[in-house]
């Protein structure tokens, strides 16, 4: 799993690539934690290169969402397709993240 972070003005974009699952979510969480501690308020998570997601991966994104929102910010998820999109819809997260 790769995660590229780009900060442009007040927005942070996180582009994920590969499988976001029980194996890789623990690798990604510290990157998400840093975004939170940096006080970023507008975060976009681009998952168009994510091939598979499981409940652990969903948990990492939801955790990021809750913490950013608690500080008055917002998190958008973009680019979901195929299996990841199906999982977001199953868990009724497509509307939460603007998919």
């Amino acid at each position: 799993m790769k995660c590229n972070r780009t900060d442009i003005d007040t927005e942070t974009r996180l582009e994920l690539e590969g499988a976001l699952d029980a194996l890789t979510a623990p690798e990604i969480r510290p990157i998400f934690d840093k975004v939170v501690t940096d006080g970023r308020k507008r975060v976009t998570v681009d998952i168009h290169k994510v091939t598979m997601i499981d409940s652990s991966g969903i948990g990492a994104i939801v955790s990021l969402f809750k913490r950013i929102k608690a500080e008055g910010g917002q998190v958008l998820v973009i680019g979901a397709r195929d299996q990841p999109l199906a999982v977001f819809k199953l868990l009724k997260l497509d509307r939460v993240f603007g998919l």
Binding site: A22, D54, S56, V62, Q83
Partner: protein, 146 residues
């Protein structure tokens, strides 16, 4: 990996049985899911939604075996028996780790955006039949029909 196709009797659809065995490790998760995804190609009427559902459910079940069933163990093995019909697929995950009742689940309140406890719910939501038998070995059967 072993595969056996039952000869088609008069009027009976052909069913293929495939088994594979691998170490129950998260490092092998993508390999196991890839194998299941390949097997879906032999379910004639399966479409993309079917593939997404059965591979996602299998992945959650795999996680449960590794993380909970074989907690604090690195020597756990997982046997997978797949039954492939023209209109269905059954996966049996067999392990000898700690047993866990996966046959029933209390649906989570999705409106609260839970960060965990979703795996078993997802399994039940994605397949048509879930059977868990914790005898000498734990056997979780997942059946998905097209």
């Amino acid at each position: 990996m072993n595969a056996e196709t039952k000869p088609s009797d008069a009027g009976e659809p052909t069913v293929t049985h495939v088994t594979f065995r691998l170490r129950a490790s998260l490092a092998h998760r993508s390999l196991a899911i890839g194998l299941v995804s390949t097997l879906v190609e032999h379910v004639k009427s399966a479409d993309r939604d079917f593939r997404n559902a059965i591979t996602t459910a299998f992945g959650e079940a795999f996680n449960n075996v590794v993380i909970h069933g074989y907690r604090n163990r690195t020597d756990g093995m997982l046997d997978v028996e797949a039954e492939l019909g023209s209109d269905h697929m059954t996966l049996r995950l067999i392990d000898d780790g700690v047993q866990a009742d996966l046959s029933s689940v209390t649906p989570p309140d999705l409106s609260t955006l839970p960060e965990g406890g979703l795996g078993i719910f997802m399994i039940h939501a994605l397949v048509d039949e879930v059977v868990y038998d914790s005898g000498t070995r734990n056997v979780l059967s997942l059946t998905k029909r097209t």
